[in-house]
Amino acid sequence: MAHTADVVIIGAGALGAACAYFATEQGLRVHIVERGEIAGGTTSACEGNLLVSDKEAGHELDLALYSNQVWRRDLAPYNHLWEFENKGGLIVAATESGARNLAELAGRQREAGIDVTDVAADEVHAYEPHLTEDLTAAAHYPQDCQVQPMLMAAQLIRIARERGARIWTRTEVTDLHRDGDAVAGVVTSRGTIHADHVINAAGTWAGDIARLAGVSVPILPRRGFVLITEPLPRTVFHKVYSGDYVASTTSSDEGLQTSTVIEGTRAGTILIGSSRERVGFDSTVSLPALRQIAAKALTLYPVLAKTKIMRNYHGFRPYCADHLPVIGHDPRAPGLWHASGHEGAGIGLSVGSAKLLVQQLTGREPDLDLTPFAPERFDLVEAS
């Protein structure tokens, strides 16, 4: 195979799929190269929440709000294809200090543009009738929503293919094709594809691709487990989680952290997450992690005590030390672009990230400044 394209995308996860969608929308000729199957990476091992509520004011929140618009406006005609649900999020607090922290968080978020309603303890059950009685406060986030991530990635790729994109699954990128300093394509297990631009959307493995170009993009795996219940009549209506979740998403602790995140799905199952651990790519199922997740979920929903857990799964979030993704052109390796490192929010942030990247790639001013996500930012930190 010796093909020529405008853009080669490495990885067919949420980010690769979204990039393919927006690039083909601009009429670009796209090839996607995926070493496994479509959406077979972390995108097949996550929960599919599109959240603004779990973010503190800052660059990630700006991206989340932007992405939220892209989901609701640009992709409105397609949202039924991936079970888009405008369900809203509910953060709950169980102690007095938790209630104070939550109120303060909501205040900061409101200033940053998030739509948030304070919910008093005696109003919580109007939102979630089966939640524990032992709550001190809650906050409701109508912008939070949910998709089925694998369907989202597969459908975006299907649409991109209808616009002429080609996908090569079970094809591994083993090297980058160079033209002098510039990256000018990929070398794969099935041949070379020449391209003006190469987008690194290799998720947790994006650091390996960067290394092929001789640059460093320090993305590490952060393991997470999720429990899945038997199918039930609808019991959980929002995305429900405890206030400590926000602290855990922004922490860099290596040890096991769990915080409760609970949501119902179309299929009737309830997903109960999740844990965060930095244990490399160790895929041994950790009973202590699962027990912690279960115990915390029970405190929120005692009604689920006898509910059966049918299975669990885990994935490796692509994680950067500063908890920001890597998006945009890499000046250290002209022609190479990154759309990776979205940690625990890569589904939600995928479409915004991809739209911005394609704006930059086609020479337009991105709707949101991409400087905070610049790939070379880590070199600057190391140098200083």
Partner: protein, 496 residues
């Protein structure tokens, strides 16, 4: 590698040998290991020993002759009395009505490499004869989980009155319940015969046995049948019974559609060519019971949970890789019975006994080498017989051509063949795992135990290639080997 935090290994009751499954293999394994001086715990999802083959009425409420419909019954009663004796002498702890829901592996460097089995009752309020521990640890574990009927989706197979052939047999043997009045038995393999004759003896009108293969397949290795004379005798018995009850044995014939609204009313039969394509219409039959079986699917969840290697067997089943002394590829793990390859109960007994002896030898207890050799020879003979059986009764290669777009593939999640094809053709799902994640076959209560084999077959058929072990592994890989309540998962285990 890093040291992993352990959940329970240090505190759960510890045994020299933990055996899972009290069927032919597990029963023989537990007894052999205990008689060789090992302290043994025997965990079983069922309430009394026997497994699938020797399923019999509740021993506390016997219903006439226990041995009714059984073969090799005296082998069972001998094993059972040895078990009871060993239980009385506290050499074996028998934990009935318990399912292993999680296998906790040893930490790197643990000596011996002990596995901890986490247990849950088989049903709410099960009478487990006292509290019992929530987890047990075995310095060695012998996995004898058996298997279940292998199924192929066909139009209408989700109607009430359509049952797995083994399920019909389980009702007969365990409860003396006849699942229907007018029955048809279909699929492939010799197991269809005891089901048909069992039904007829219990008073059902059996309209036919439909065998998709043909017995001429056996001629490929005629000596294999001779290697296990008991089997030939059994076959003759069944043939006589079929004649006595005037049950036609229709070869190269399959049920290709099942009709009914609230329950099955009739079936459509087709004659098949050698490759399993429909050659011609073979009429219809009015029935209220359809018993379907396409061989067996070994239960590989526990084996996969230990990380032991698996392979594809000659009958397209995923099985554990074991050496000629029943050791799996992971230290401390032994496997016996259907999980090493489908081959019948007597093979399972021989493997179980050998595994029991080997755990003892590996723990430095004396074991007679003569016994070991005799068992190995018996296993070899039975394996040869099984190979001939599998060769004669393959799953029809073109079976999927019988499906209509509306045919339910996954009974739990009600996924149609059309949806499976859509995931593949429109969404680009290239393997069974991706089809499952996009269209949900295998995502429901049974976690693909029923449709997993068919889904793997469909994935391979699409690419026009043979089934591989990788097609089958995702279904066997279940991080929970049985459902567990949120409450039990959340609690630290109890040990009394």
């Amino acid at each position: 590698m890093t040291e992993r935090p352990r959940d329970t290994a240090s505190t759960s009751p510890r045994y020299d040998v933990a055996v899972v499954g009290a069927g032919p293999a597990g029963l023989a394994a537990a007894v052999a290991a205990a008689e060789a001086g090992r302290r043994v715990v025997l965990v079983d999802a069922g309430g009394q020993p026997g497994g699938q083959y020797w399923r019999h009425p509740d021993e506390t409420a016997p219903r006439g002759d226990e041995s009714l419909g059984h073969h090799d019954w005296s082998t069972f009663t001998a094993l059972r009395s040895r078990l009871h004796g060993l239980v009385r002498r506290r050499r074996i702890t028998h934990l009935p009505w318990r399912q292993v829901w999680f296998v906790e592996r040893p930490s790197v460097g643990d000596e011996p490499p002990a596995h901890t089995l986490h247990l849950t009752t088989s049903y709410a309020g099960a009478d487990t004869g006292g509290e019992g521990p929530d987890a047990v640890t075995g310095d060695a574990v012998i996995l004898c989980p058996g298997g279940y009927d292998r199924q192929l989706p066909i139009p209408g197979w989700d109607l009430p009155g359509v049952m797995a052939a083994g399920g019909v047999q389980a009702l007969l043997k365990g409860h003396r319940t006849v699942a229907g009045r007018r029955a048809i038995v279909a699929g492939t393999g010799p197991f269809l015969l005891p089901v048909a004759t069992g039904l007829a003896q219990a008073g059902a009108d059996v309209v036919a046995v439909c065998e998709a293969g043909s017995i001429t397949g056996w001629s490929r290795d005629p000596l294999a049948a001779a290697a296990v004379p008991g089997k030939a005798r059994e076959a003759l018995e069944y043939a006589t019974e079929l004649i006595r009850h005037r049950i036609p044995y229709r070869q190269r014939t399959a049920i290709t559609a099942i009709r009914g609204t609230e329950a099955v009313r009739s079936v459509e039969l087709s004659r098949l060519d050698r490759e399993g394509r429909i050659r011609e219409d073979a009429g219809t039959a009015d029935v209220d019971l359809v018993a379907l079986g396409w061989g067996f699917t070994p239960s590989l969840e526990l084996v996969s949970a230990t990380g032991a290697a698996t392979r594809k067997d000659i009958d397209d089943s995923l099985v554990a890789v074991v050496d000629d002394e029943q050791r799996a590829t992971v230290p401390g793990v032994y496997v016996a019975g259907e999980a090493t390859g489908v081959g019948g109960a007597m093979l399972a007994v021989a493997e179980g006994e050998l595994a029991g002896l080997m755990t003892a030898r590996d723990q430095r207890a004396p074991v007679s080498q003569g016994n070991v050799r005799t068992l190995q020879k018996r296993i070899t003979r039975h394996r040869r017989f099984a190979a001939a059986m599998h060769a004669a009764h393959p799953v029809p290669r073109h079976w999927h051509e019988w499906l209509s777009p509306e045919t339910t593939v996954c009974r739990c999640e009600e996924v149609s063949y059309r949806q499976v094809c859509g995931a593949r053709d429109e969404l680009g799902a290239g393997d069974a795992r991706t089809v499952k994640l996009m269209a949900r076959p295998g995502m429901g209560w049974c976690q693909g135990r029923v449709c997993g084999f068919a889904s793997a077959k469909l994935a391979a058929a699409t690419e026009g290639r043979a089934l591989t072990a990788d097609d089958l592994r995702p279904t066997a890989k279940q991080p929970f080997t049985a459902p567990v309540s949120l409450e039990q998962l959340a609690e630290s285990p109890r040990y009394e």
